[in-house]
Symmetry: C2
């Protein structure tokens, strides 16, 4: 896998994603080979053109002979097959280029764990020698914000004409943006979105002193994509010049450790609580034979 | 609180929400008085008009002398003050009517726990003798889907002209809808949204045999709100006639028990791991002095 074989990489990711036997040992072995890649987190509303923008960035990095890994996090719908479908469509574009590896990850029906899984997978891709890892996700919900937290640089993608005030104010992701992109900037309302970003920015100052730039793009025609790449390079240099990249990664690891702890404890708890016990307890609670708070206290007492 | 006092209710909710001393005991005491209210979960994209629709439903239920509790889950932005602002604006409308209690809950910066907190708060409102509890949330992200899982009846709100395919296919909430609402149905594209819902529905059948209806509304003018209330009544009767309400609640409790277990274990773990330890470990990992997987194994070994 470390020699660059894409199939070996795909297999390693599957082991990690499915928690197949040996997955933790694999991650322990790979960890010393990580830390070299630059990780970009890209987030925005559905329909903001994230995938197209990511693909254009990938093409640009490929011209520079950078090896690229892409993790696309898709909220799954059982109706459509979700992530898998997206994978196939996008793979065609880069099919003949082993320098771009795309992996879709689905929001599962289970509890959390997606941010953690995304972090684990990005480590695997990093260890496989990719220079750039891009993590792309829909930017509403705490889960999605957590996912972007694995990134060295976070890019928030907005578009004109989608109830802009709402997308900006409600998204809860303004404060995590290192770079703003206004995609579909040829559409009406682009100036207004920029104004709103500036207005919100004026209300707060960042601790690190960085002023997040606003880059206008039209991803479908690659317009502004070079400018976006330049903004990324500039922020990376800023981070390195102030020794902030190391701090950023340490901060990210604080968040991730707590996540990992939560998920590991949950696995441990679920292992103790069989599906049958759980179903019986839930029925008792629904019928008010027991209260859920005492039930939890009892279970935690035995973990 | 159980005599209907809104201030006492607000205080009880604050105790539960902030995990103030005695919060678990309070929930244990209240639990036997729950199970009477009908809980509605309403979800949709930002800008779909959820709040307006919820307010209109509340007005309708008030005419029938039903006491209403509303929980509005807001993704918080530190820039705008998020939930608190929304609270104040909406309170004005029902200010003089003690029969409508509105509470906003914010998506905190912390890990998960929001679905659990929403569930706890809805129990408190139920115990306070409200007939209808409405939980309203933005419908993207696993967290939001989990929140709606506390509901007896789930209503998914769509709107025309917001990149419809995307909102439907990517939302990941199609499969949880008992009732679909097309709000702003006077806008262009309303027919197309309905067609897409029907097309997706035809791909899957529900285990319980219910065919989720599509109700068209214009919330700002209360158009279609009576039809929505009728659809809610019809599904409630369907659930009761087949003894499915009890099953639904037992299923919900299964999900919630696991959530409660996860959150309780996380609290326990965090209590053991001081902020200083966490910060030191994260720095070690960022500098590759230690690997995170071994760190977690060590911590879990001591919980």
């Amino acid at each position: 896998m470390r020699s660059g074989d894409a199939r070996a990489l795909a297999r390693a990711i599957s082991v990690v994603e499915n928690h197949a036997p040996g997955w933790i040992e694999l991650l322990k072995d790979l960890f010393p080979h990580t830390g070299r890649a630059l990780t970009l987190g890209l987030t925005g509303s559905p329909g903001a053109g994230k995938s197209t923008l990511v693909d254009q960035l990938a093409k640009l990095y490929r011209k520079d002979d950078q090896k690229v890994g892409i993790i696309a996090v898709d909220p799954t719908s059982p109706y459509t097959g979700g992530a898998i479908l997206g994978d196939r469509i996008r793979m065609q574009d880069h099919f003949s280029d082993a320098g771009v590896y795309i992996r879709s990850m689905a929001t599962r029906g289970s509890l959390g764990g997606l941010a953690r899984a995304t972090g684990d997978v990005s480590l695997v891709i990093d260890a496989a020698g990719r220079d750039i890892v891009m993590v792309e996700t829909v930017g509403v919900g705490q889960d999605e914000v957590d996912i972007v937290r694995v990134a060295d640089i976070t890019i928030v993608i907005l578009v004109p004409g989608m109830g802009d005030d709402v997308q900006i104010i409600k998204a809860g992701i303004m404060e995590i943006a290192d770079i703003f992109v206004i995609n579909k900037s040829d559409h009406e309302g682009s100036e207004r979105v920029e104004k709103e970003i500036r207005a919100l920015q004026s209300l707060a100052t960042r601790q690190d002193g960085w002023a997040p730039p606003v880059v206008k793009t039209v991803a479908t025609t690659a317009t502004g994509v070079q400018e976006l790449a330049d903004a990324i390079t500039k922020y990376r240099q800023f981070l390195l010049s102030k020794d902030l990249l190391r701090k950023r990664r340490a901060d990210n690891w604080e968040t991730r450790l707590v996540e990992m702890l939560r998920d590991t404890l949950l696995e441990k708890a679920r292992a103790q609580l069989s599906a049958r016990d759980l179903s019986r307890l839930a029925a008792d609670i629904a019928e008010h034979k027991r209260d859920p708070y005492s039930v939890i206290e009892e279970i935690v007492g035995t973990v």
